[in-house]
Structures are given as structure tokens and as C-alpha cells.
């Protein structure tokens, strides 16, 4: 579609994905008709606040939606031309870990506490790449060195509790990249880390994925992280992508009221004067009780009558840049505060 560059097919092509969870109040579509692509080697930022469906989108791609209560209702997820939703569990396991890898938010809980670092690093190498124990061990050692863990030989024998949060997340990255995947999904990879460690881990992830030619899907609520690292950006709100485009366009000419609202709501220390923050009024809607029409309409300063009745879909506002807003033409001309 719009994200196709040249004649090469996208690496990942998510089409009309609907993932729902059964709750006390009935089924809730947490991901509600989401389509996007990732090209080889590019970095896509998926931004949104809690409950917007960004993490469930990632879990759907990985085939890790807990079922029940979750369920992928419809859609297709093409990875290198193959629909991940329609292949066998065994084939999916073969792809997961070797072709598509994932780094989770919690470095504390995503490593197995009772296995040594060596066991955990060597397992995917032996499983996916068929390495022998000895070869896998020396490769594991190299990987630790690559992510900047001092004394890698000794640290292989350690258990995760001996590592700091930053080290654990670096080990997760080593593990994720160990089989040279085509796509790395990072779900809030640095949110649990301290600021200076965050910077280390993000820089490392970017450098390595460039080196390996890995495409990255970074899921985050942090617009700064997206501005620094992403080539393209998807902004999600309440189960749907509301704006999609090249990162430069999203930051320089945002065209959805929610994107503009987010950019205006964050305090920024690069701006000289401290103007009062322009807040987005109201609350993030509960996915079980979304407002009718565009679910952002009760919080939107641009909302017109039509917005509470009819749901807009993504429409072009520029080359490769789409926004799901009836008033997009007006909204995109709105002024963002400019740094002096």
C-alpha cells in the first residue's frame, strides 16, 4: 500500500488485524482493524498510551496472545510473504526466535531466574541454528561481549539475579539478535531502566540492528525515543492507528488531533520559556466502552457533529502520510509551539 517503497514487498504486512479479549463485559476488541507494514531494515515506532493496543499488536505478530481470554478474530499478518496466522504451530515456532525476535519491557521477569545466562543464551542457538554445545557456548560469549557485558566468560555461569536491570536488558538484546532475525520487536524496552542506562541500551539496540540489517518495531509511549530512532511512526489510540507517516512528517506536521495533543502535552526542556502545558481533556476511554464515532471525539478540540456519529479511516494528508480524522485538512494547518 502506501508504505511500499520501490518494488520490494514489505518484510511485515499486517492487514486488518482484530484481536479481542473476553472480559466480564463481553468481548473487547483491543486491536480493532489495524493495518501497517514494516520494510526490511527500517525502524518503525508504534506510539500510544496505556490500553491503546500497541502491546497486543506485538503479541499478535509473535503469536503470543494468551488464549483464552485473548483471540485473533480476523486479519492477516504476512511475514516475508507467509501468513503467520495460517501456518502450523511448529512453523511459527521456527520463525519466532530466529526470524522474528522480541525484547520485553521487564528485564526482571523476562529471563528465567533458575537457568544460567549461558543456558538461556545458548538455547536458541542450538535450537534454531543447530549449533553444538561447545560452539554455542563460544558464540554466547561473543554475544555478551558484543552487548558490552564485562568478563563475559565468567558472567555466562551467573544467574540473572546477579545482573543489574541494564545488564539484563542487554542480555535480552543479545538473545534476541543471536539468531540474526529479520525483525526485532521491542516493547517498551527501556521504560523500566534509569535515564543514563536507557540511553546505553537504546544506542546499543540501534547500532546492532543497523549492523545486522534487522528491521525494528519499537513500541513506546515516549515520543522522544521515537523522534531519535524511528524512520516511520504509527500513532495508536484506543485500538486503532490514528496517524501514520515518516517520522519527520509526524513531528513537523502532525495531522491528527491526538498526535498534536500528545506533542503539546509533554513538557520539553529544549524550549526556553515554560508555557503552561496544553492538556488533552478527559480520560483515555475504557476499551469496553468506547465513544461512538471517532473514539477520540470527546477529548478533541476540533470535533464536529460528524465525529460522534461516524468513524473516519486513514486517508492521505501527504505523501506516505495518513490520518484518520474528518477534520484532518484543518487540523494539519494547526500551529505547534515552536522551539525558540
Amino acid at each position: 500500500m502506501d508504505a511500499l517503497r520501490g518494488d520490494s514487498a514489505p518484510l511485515l504486512d499486517v492487514r486488518n488485524l482484530v484481536t479481542q479479549f473476553v472480559t466480564d463485559e463481553g468481548p473487547v476488541r483491543v486491536v480493532n482493524d489495524v493495518s501497517f507494514q514494516i520494510n526490511e531494515g527500517e525502524t518503525l515506532g508504534l506510539v500510544g498510551e496505556s490500553g491503546c493496543g500497541k502491546s497486543v499488536t506485538a503479541l499478535s505478530i509473535m503469536g503470543l496472545v494468551p488464549t483464552p481470554p485473548g483471540e485473533i478474530v480476523s486479519g492477516e499478518i504476512y511475514f516475508q510473504g507467509q501468513d503467520l496466522l495460517r501456518i502450523s504451530g511448529e512453523d511459527l515456532r521456527g520463525i519466532r526466535g530466529s526470524q522474528i525476535a522480541m525484547v520485553f519491557q521487564e528485564p526482571m521477569t523476562s529471563l528465567n531466574p533458575v537457568l544460567t545466562i549461558e543456558r538461556q543464551l545458548a538455547e536458541p542457538l542450538r535450537m534454531h541454528l543447530g549449533m553444538t554445545r561447545g560452539v554455542a557456548k563460544s558464540r554466547a560469549c561473543e554475544l555478551l561481549e558484543m552487548v558490552g557485558i564485562p568478563d563475559p566468560e565468567d558472567r555466562l555461569k551467573d544467574y540473572p539475579h546477579r545482573m543489574s536491570g541494564g545488564q539484563r536488558q542487554r542480555i535480552m538484546i543479545a538473545m534476541a539478535l543471536s539468531c540474526n532475525p529479520k525483525l526485532l520487536i521491542a516493547d517498551e524496552p527501556t521504560t523500566a531502566l534509569d535515564v543514563t542506562i536507557q540511553a546505553q541500551v537504546l544506542e546499543l539496540m540501534m547500532t546492532l540492528s543497523k549492523e545486522f540489517g534487522t528491521a525494528l518495531l519499537i513500541i513506546t509511549h515516549n515520543l522522544g525515543v521515537v523522534a531519535r530512532f524511528a524512520d516511520r511512526v504509527n500513532v495508536m489510540y484506543s485500538g486503532k492507528i490514528r496517524e501514520m507517516g515518516p517520522a519527520d512528517d509526524i513531528f513537523d506536521s502532525p495531522s491528527h488531533p491526538y498526535t498534536i495533543g500528545l506533542l503539546n502535552a509533554i513538557p520539553r526542556f529544549d524550549q526556553g520559556d515554560r508555557a503552561r502545558l496544553q492538556m488533552i481533556k478527559g480520560e483515555i476511554p475504557d476499551p469496553a466502552h468506547r465513544p461512538s464515532g471517532c473514539s477520540f471525539n470527546p477529548r478533541c478540540p476540533w470535533a464536529v457533529d460528524k465525529c460522534s456519529v461516524s468513524e473516519p479511516s486513514l486517508a492521505a494528508v501527504g505523501p506516505d502520510h495518513t490520518s484518520a480524522c474528518w477534520e484532518a485538512a484543518t487540523v494539519s494547518k494547526a500551529q505547534l509551539p515552536v522551539a525558540p
Binding site: T196, A199, D270, R274, L277, A339
Partner: protein, 340 residues
């Protein structure tokens, strides 16, 4: 709006109005216990190690640092929620450490604390109204049930909630609303000084801005003095008049908010600022980045000399030996680094 506060940005020596909170050479050490049944003290964690700072009436002092920096411990010790090991905590001219527990209880009415976690800090079995009304009961600030109910209703409205919400339980509120309840409770006894410990870091971006604006409005309306503890440098800059930076129990830099960001002196502050990704593409491309090597050392076993020397890009042998003290390098701009 901030005129009166900029005037009160007085220096240590030439203070025109005495500070409301004056912390002098504060030390908070926690014993490290070891042996059978944890009986023997084998050392100390110096959570706060010889920190001096003051907060003027009506101003906001931002306290920044990463995990293990001691910022939360300092905030608690300032209210005597933790007993300091040594040093002075002088509130409104009175040394709090000299007060008996009964005198302290009376004094506590003037001191408030807002916690980070809007989920953990409210009692799930109490209604919002009872929680907000509790300080009124404790300090006998109401003349009967009716009056308490009226005051609770006023407080709810003050923080942007409706009176009718008094009968609801915490689970019926969103994260942002819960944090408002925490603020209302902290305000109930009409305090003069509030410690805000990461008040917005658990909230979504769009909700964060609402809380930040609320805290600023309340400060103006009730002439409050804030100690704002946070790791988000953008939030801190937005609210604070002066900012203190801590690293491993030590104060490393202190200045007015503008100078700290425009001209950070300490290498740690410089690295901290450069580590924050900003939501501006052009700026991100041109910014210089200082990525610190290594992890934050354990506070159990801090480095000798300057605690930052293990990660400092400009450290020399001298830094390993000499403990730097806070020196005034520009008017009202203090930093603890022997390389300056």
C-alpha cells in the same frame, strides 16, 4: 505568574526571607545486616550522605537522580518519615529532630506527601471520601460529620473531581483520578510544605499534563512550597524554580532551573541531560550525546573519592582520591567536581 517566586530565589548566604525547609549536612544510613537471623551490622548503605539544601517559601525545588541516588530517602527524611542518622532538618525555623513524637504529630499537619504509585498508595477498602477526610479527623480539623463531608467535597472539587465521587472506592477511579485523590488527601490538613515523590511518572502522557497543571495551580492558590522528586528531567524543569541533582547519596549540582539546563556544570548532569531523547527530529539529529559507560554502582559499595568517577568521561586519578565538595561556580550555581 512566577514573578514572586523568582524573587525568592535567594542564595544560601544572602537569604532575605528565611527558607521554609532547611536541610543541613543530612545523613541517612541504613545498616546492612548479616549472619544468623540478620543480627549483625556489617556495614551501612549511605542513602543520603552529607546533603545540604534549602527550600524557600513558595518555591519548588526539583530533586533529580537515578535509582539509588537517595532522592526518595531525602524526601522522606525531610518529613521525618525516616529518622535521619545525622544532620539537621529545620522547618520554619524549628529543628524537627528535636520534637517529641507528639509534637511532631502536631507539626506534621503542615507537611504533606504525595506518593508515586496511584495504585498502591490508596487503601482499596476505603472510600475516596474517608481517605481524604482521615487527616481532618486525625488533626481534629472539622466540627462534626457534616462539616467533614463538606470539606471533603470542597477538596474533591479543588483537585478537579466532583463531590459525588466521595463514596466511590479506589478501583472505580482511573490512575489520573487516583493521583488527584492522593493530592486532595495531602492537602486536607492545609499543609504549607509538600513532598511530591514522582507524582506523575506512573501516568500516561495526556494525563500527566493535567496533573502538572493542577499541581502548579494549587501551589499558586494555597501558596505551597514543593520538594519535587522525579527522574523525568523535562517534568522537573517545567515545574521547578531551582533544581538539585543527586548521584549515589551525594548532591552533585544545584542551581536555578534555567542555568542547569543551559549550562550544566557537572559531568553527570551533562550526561543525564544528553541521555534524554527529545521529541524534535532536527534537534535530535544535531545534539551531542554523552553515553555513559557502565552501570550505576551499588550504594552498598560506593566508589571512593568522587562517587561518579567510575563512569565519568573526564575523571583522572585525583578523582579517585578526593571527595569533591559543593562550590559556587557562578552566582547561585553550585557543583561538586574538582575538574571545574
Amino acid at each position: 505568574m512566577r514573578e514572586n517566586k523568582i524573587k525568592s530565589d535567594a542564595t544560601e548566604g544572602a537569604a532575605k526571607t528565611p527558607p521554609l525547609m532547611d536541610i543541613r549536612n543530612l545523613k541517612v544510613y541504613f545498616p546492612i545486616k548479616s549472619g544468623v537471623l540478620l543480627g549483625r551490622t556489617v556495614g551501612h548503605i549511605k542513602a543520603v550522605d552529607d546533603v545540604s539544601l534549602h527550600i524557600n517559601p513558595g518555591e519548588t525545588l526539583g530533586l533529580v537522580g537515578e535509582s539509588g541516588s537517595g532522592k526518595t530517602t531525602l524526601g522522606r527524611a525531610a518529613l521525618r518519615l525516616i529518622e535521619p542518622t545525622d544532620g539537621q532538618v529545620i522547618f520554619d525555623g524549628q529543628e524537627l529532630r528535636d520534637l517529641s513524637s507528639q509534637e511532631m504529630r502536631q507539626r506534621r499537619r503542615e507537611l504533606g506527601f504525595v506518593f508515586q504509585d496511584p495504585y498502591g498508595s490508596l487503601n482499596p477498602r476505603m472510600t475516596a471520601g474517608n481517605m481524604i477526610g482521615e487527616p481532618l479527623k486525625i488533626h481534629k480539623l472539622h466540627s462534626g460529620k457534616e462539616d467533614r463531608r463538606r470539606q471533603v467535597g470542597d477538596l474533591l472539587e479543588t483537585v478537579g473531581l466532583s463531590r459525588s465521587m466521595a463514596d466511590r472506592y479506589p478501583h472505580e477511579f482511573s490512575g489520573g483520578q487516583r493521583q488527584r485523590i492522593g493530592v486532595a488527601r495531602a492537602l486536607a490538613a492545609k499543609p504549607r510544605f509538600l513532598v511530591l515523590d514522582e507524582p506523575v511518572s506512573a501516568l500516561d502522557v495526556s494525563i500527566q499534563a493535567q496533573l502538572i497543571n493542577l499541581l502548579q495551580d494549587l501551589q499558586e492558590e494555597f501558596n505551597l512550597t514543593y520538594l519535587l522528586i522525579a527522574h523525568d528531567l523535562s517534568v522537573v524543569r517545567h515545574i521547578s524554580d531551582r533544581i538539585a541533582v543527586m548521584y549515589l547519596g551525594k548532591l552533585v549540582e544545584l542551581s536555578d532551573y534555567k542555568a542547569l539546563y543551559d549550562n550544566p556544570l557537572h559531568p553527570y548532569t551533562q550526561a543525564l541531560l544528553s541521555a534524554v531523547p527529545l521529541p524534535d527530529r532536527a534537534l535530535e539529529r544535531s545534539r551531542e550525546r554523552i553515553v555513559l559507560k557502565g552501570d550505576i554502582p551499588s550504594p552498598r559499595n560506593p566508589p571512593t573519592g568522587c562517587v561518579f568517577h567510575t563512569r565519568c568521561p573526564i575523571a583522572t586519578d585525583e578523582c579517585r582520591m578526593t571527595i569533591p565538595t559543593m562550590k559556587e561556580h557562578a552566582p547561585n550555581h553550585y557543583a561538586a567536581c574538582i575538574k571545574l
